[in-house]
Amino acid sequence: MTTTSRWRALTHHHLFWPVAVLIALLLVNVPFTPGFFSIDMTDGHLYGSLVSIVLFGSPLILVAVGMTLVIATGGIDLSVGAVVAITGALTCSYISDQTDQNTLSAVFLAMGIGLVAAVVCGLWNGFLVARMGIQPIIATLIIMVAGRGVAQLITDGQIITVNSEPYKLIGGGYWLTLPFSVFVVTAVVAVTVALTRRTALGLLVESVGGNAEASRLVGIRSTRIKIMVYMFCALCAGIAGLMISSNTSAADGNNAGLWIELDAILAVVIGGTSLAGGRFSIGGTVVGALVIQTLTTTIYTIGVPTQTNLVFKAAVVIVVCLLQSPKFRAKVFGAKGPEGPRRDAAPVEPAPAADAAPKMEVSR
């Protein structure tokens, strides 16, 4: 294979542009923070900017991974932020009621309670969307509004602080010198990939999102699948909620996970999944979430004045999206984008490289 064709294949990979943007963003930091890429050993764990990006980005990755599946079915879940808050609130309020907050069993029980609550929220969302046929934005808006109220009800509007070493581990602790959250995220992503690509779930989800009526007529039990997916999404949000509250050892019913749904959706889209449903890419979502977290960190480190944070963020989002758009690339760089019908097939052509997307199915 010639180098040019290899290069072509590379640029046509569906992760090429998200990864390129991620790298570019990381590089932007270097002039401002010379030691940006350095990683030291501090107090027996790794320490450095890259480590904090992963550490602080973990909850977002989790939420976005769950969101990816929901979006693949053609839905959307606005309630994840509220679920984050509820889970954290329940777990922390249970732990803080214990006399000995360090007992493992109590911590596990607390986390169990929190996650069950999250899954119940997901079940409710799934029920409304799949069973009642309510439009996802509205169905999940209900928990988005009421859920935060519930979280505040649980915490009594206060921040609940816990002093539990084992609980602190999930979101703020280190294991084998790495942030423990890295392991959690890896595990969840691995489980998700296995669940969707080693079983037929991924195919069925994409089918439901790609053409709901056709899926019904081939006998896919889309109600069940949708409910499952919303439950899974809520579970991911729940784990993220544990992480966020564990990270600061406190549950903040008011602010935990505020607006995380928008960042998660953004991550999913940057990762190349179309909001219209259908094809999805978990790998893309992980990269997308890292892009957003890096962007946040960059804003903090390069000294953007607070009032221009959002303008900066908007600019980056626009640039990322434009770069991902084959039409834009064709117009600006004159390169011939992956040729396709101008508007053929699916109503919304899942952006760019989807054509050349490597198949993520079970087989090679």
Binding site: L275, N309, L310, S325, K327
Partner: protein
Amino acid sequence: MSATAQTPKAAPRGSTASRARATRLLGDRRLPVLVTAALFIAMYVAGLSRYQNYGFGEPQVFLNLFIDNGYLLVAAIGATFVIMSGGIDLSVGSMIGFTTMFTAWLVERQGLPLLLVVPLALAVGAFGGFLMGYVIHNFEIQPFIVTLAGLFLFRGLCLVISKESISINDASVGTLAQTRVSLGVGDLSIGAVVALVVLAVAAYVLHYTRFGRRVYAIGGNEQSALLMGLPLGGTKIAVYTVSGFCSALAGLLFMLYIQSGDPLHAVGMELDAIAAVVIGGTLLTGGSGYVLGTLFGVLVLGLIKSVITFEGTLSSWWTKIATGVLLCAFILIQRTMTSRRKA
């Protein structure tokens, strides 16, 4: 090849017309709007019986729904256009906030006359919408993302103008804000009147102009609309321009309503607008719905708010929970009432 014999015509379909009428009634697209309207009235009556001793029954309380939600109505009408065309606009809230800030800054800090600032603000809003539409159409980027960038951008620009809120002391703004149009039983503010006019214009545009029908067509099936030779790009861009314009107008009404510009005004209002549109029976997938439904959607949201204020004893989180529960109850009832029809 079939026999060349002339095939017999199907016997006159006697029942066709009546059957078609029956299915039309059941599958009527107006049904969701009617249901929303009916539920709104039911809710209002329920409120009446519960809070009648607190003055809920006064006509002015009803009119206040329009006064207090006029700006939301205008924003939601813009959102209706976008949603009807199968898109979505998340920049509404930011655009409103930006407009309040922009006008306040121009009027108060730069001393420009209101007469100049108002068209300027509307033009800026429309232009913002135009830009988003342009990007969405020409680079084929999903509207959700483009308008999300718009959300960040306009909110950011608010803060760039000033981090602090700017109060508007301009006399003409004050007069405008306090002008009331009397209706006999009560009165309406300028904002409410403007909103109702916008509603009427929008209804006319959507139902009696080619542009309006194109919006429906695109929402029904974008690909087909293109193949049918409709100006897809122009319409899409126009729709976002309309939304931008409506958001800016809503921003002006909002500014009249609270006479100040603040960088944190109208945070999250896009969700209110979208919720109002959807509650009003418009499908987020586009192509189906009525702008009149949006009015009822807005009124329902407003009524939920008033009911909660009248209840008056709810603590902060119960307010949120109650809002969610009322919303949920409403949607579920609406859904069961409209889902009688078969696909």
